[in-house]
Amino acid sequence: MHIELRDQCFDPWAEITGFRDRMLSPGQYGACAVFVGTMRDYNDGDRVRSMYLEHYPGMTEKQLESLVDASCETNNLMEALVVHRVGSVNPGEDIVLVAVWSAHRKASFDACREIMEALKSTAPFWKKETLDDQSGDRWVHRNTPGS
C-alpha cells in the first residue's frame, strides 16, 4: 500500500506501472481497477481557469491511509496505490489516482470505488476555483454524490 500527496503534476499511468513493477509479481494478480480524476476546464456551468487544493497536513495522509487500509482488508486486496495533488492545479492535470490489484475482478471493482467514495467524503481536501471571467475565487461547496 502506498499513499502520496504531490504538489507537482504526475503521470498516473507511469505511477501505476512503476508501482506494479516494484510491488507485484507477474502471474500473481488477475485484476487491476483504476480511477483517475482530472481537472476539467468547466464546473457548474462556468469556465474554470485554475484551482487550489488545500489540505490538512498530517491528518490528510492519516485519513487516506486509514480508509485505504480498511478497503484492503475488506476486499482482500493484493496492493493499493493512491496519489493525490495538493496546491495549484490547472485544467487537464490529474488530481487523483486510485489503483488496486486483486486475484479476481469483483474485489478490485468494489475497492476502487469504495476508496474513491471514502476519499471524496472524508479526506481533508478543499478545492478553491479561479474562474475564467475574473469574478474571483470560489470554494467548491460540496462534492457531487458518486453512487
Partner: protein, 76 residues
Amino acid sequence: MTINVRFFASLRERIGVARTEIEADSVNDVRDVWLAVSHQPVDEEMLVALNRNYASLDHTVTDGDEVAFFPPVTGG
C-alpha cells in the same frame, strides 16, 4: 490547559485565522473550544477533528490537544 485550534478552507477565511491557541480551564469539550474561539453558533455542516481524527462536538479535550474545524471536504 492549552488547546491548539486550527481552521481550514472557507472556515479559515470566515474566522480570519488559520491557527490559534487557547488557554482556558472552563473548556471541557470540542463544542466549548468552538464557542471560545469563534463566538458563533455551531455550524451544522462543520466537520471537527481532534488530534487529526474525526471527532464530535461532545468529545472531551485535554491539555495539548489539537482541535480543527473545517467545512465539508471536496477532494478527489
